[in-house]
Amino acid sequence: MSNPVQISKEIDARGSFCPGPLMELIRAVKAANVGEVIAVLSGDPGSVKDIPAWVTKAGHKFLGMEDAGGEVKRFIVRKAR
């Protein structure tokens, strides 16, 4: 994998529509330890806007977004607090 960071949990939210992927991410961040990196796979176009906006609002770090085949994108987040 091309990611320099180590992803500790990847959530597959493909096929889940708004606000499914974001809510899945929120749940995972809640359960994670500070510093852990979480990835979420989403094919919902709304996620492109909603996920980075939530990560910023919640004070975590948005490490990026990459194509994961077709419409699906992988969003990578580090729990910062």
Binding site: P19, M23, I26, V29, K30, W54, K57, G59, R81
Partner: protein
């Protein structure tokens, strides 16, 4: 004779049992199991906090709503025994089935958020709606925070409706300018469906309601009277009205047919449960990406009834009724005698019309006509 077992005596369970009894005269034995002997009309609870509805008028005996061919068994399901095709009740008796329909709805779980049970009110049970009425009666002004404490929850628009009606109620009592109302929602708009948020947000602003989005409730401090979010914000309140998180029935949590929250793995068109072709699910208990609403159960029930009846009668399914397309219809009360309506399905988001008195009267009429039309399968 084939045995059909329906779990749950709410909107979905009552309707499906009646539809099956109509379709399968003497060809099957239909039993409905319900934890309660009463059928509750939950949409009426919205009006209870304001004293606009008497909760006693919102329930009827379940037996009185059931077709005579449906056997009623009052008892709480303790667990499923899937290999034996059986359901075990808390009192210990076991019921066997050839076909099983799960319609045990959703339950509120305030215990999932620290401090929520002690610090907040809601109107998602008969008792809670009644308690909130007592508090509002005594209200003299201050800060009210209304919000959604977890997604998914049933009747997604109810918190918005409550906020609009609260504004009307306080205005009528001359307390609106002594009250600050804040509305919170977990994502970055006031409702999950964008087209609905676009209608609701300007209305909230017009009524002077403060909006706090991206507010995922993490805990409540009942002593300091603070609602604290995962995002790091905290809202002080004098009265907190929070829709608690929801889960499916307890016996489903951790069972092979459901996820950890007890939502049943359901096929979005046939409503069959994953890996169990003789088990179906409808209503709030499914994991479908569609609103948990009575109208959802209402549109789902004919599909399941057709599948089971066709199989028992050894005929092909009537294609017109064989698949569910995600249809839901919900009213949205906007206060001051007006409402809008949301009609949508899996592929078509709602386009809510401007609020008008007509939809409000339709909702009022429907609330009264429910008993004659919905559980019985007249419409």
């Amino acid at each position: 004779m084939k045995r059909i077992l329906v779990l749950g005596g709410g909107t979905g369970g009552t309707l499906i049992a009646n539809l099956l009894a109509k379709k399968l005269k003497n060809e099957a034995q239909i039993t409905l199991v319900s934890a309660s002997s009463r059928h509750l009309y939950q949409p009426g609870w919205l009006y209870v906090p304001f004293g606009w509805q008497d909760p006693r008028a919102l329930s009827r005996s379940l037996k009185s709503l059931l077709n005579k061919r449906v056997q009623l068994e009052i008892g709480k399901v303790d667990r499923l025994d899937l290999p034996a095709q059986a359901v075990v009740l808390e009192e210990g008796n076991t019921l066997y089935y050839d076909y099983l329909v799960v319609a045990t709805g959703s339950r509120v779980t305030p215990e999932d958020v620290p401090g929520l049970a002690e610090g907040a009110h809601h109107f998602y049970t008969e008792e809670a709606a009644w308690k909130l009425h007592a508090v509002l009666e005594e209200w003299q002004g201050g800060r009210i925070v209304v919000g959604v404490g977890g997604l998914p929850h049933k009747c997604p628009v109810a918190p918005l409706e409550f906020t609009f009606l609260l504004d009307e109620y306080l205005t009528r009592r001359g307390l609106r300018d002594k009250t600050e109302i804040t509305y919170t929602y977990p994502i970055n708009r006031v409702f999950s469906i964008e087209s609905v948020a676009e209608v609701a947000e300007p209305l909230l602003k017009e009524r002077g309601v403060k909006i706090e989005t991206f507010f995922n409730l993490e805990s409540v401090d009942p002593e300091k009277k603070l609602a604290i979010s995962l995002e790091g914000s905290s809202l002080p309140y004098d009265l907190l009205v929070m829709i608690p998180p929801h889960r499916g029935a307890q016996f489903l949590e951790g069972s092979p047919i459901a996820d950890a929250q007890g939502w049943v793995y359901t096929d979005r068109t046939t409503l069959q449960v994953k890996d169990y072709p003789n088990i179906y699910a409808l209503g709030d208990t499914t994991n479908l990406p569609i609103s948990k609403a009575g109208s959802t159960a209402h549109f789902e029930a004919p599909v399941i009834a057709e599948h089971i009846a066709a199989e028992i009668q050894g005929r092909a399914v009537d294609l017109q009724h064989a698949s569910y397309n995600g249809k839901v219809t919900c009213f949205l009360e906007t206060g001051y005698g007006k409402a809008s309506i949301l009609a949508f399905d899996y592929d078509h988001p709602p386009k809510p019309p401007a609020p008008s008195w007509l939809y409000h009267y339709e909702k009022m009429a429907f609330n009264k006509a429910y008993w004659y039309l919905v559980p019985t399968g007249v419409i």
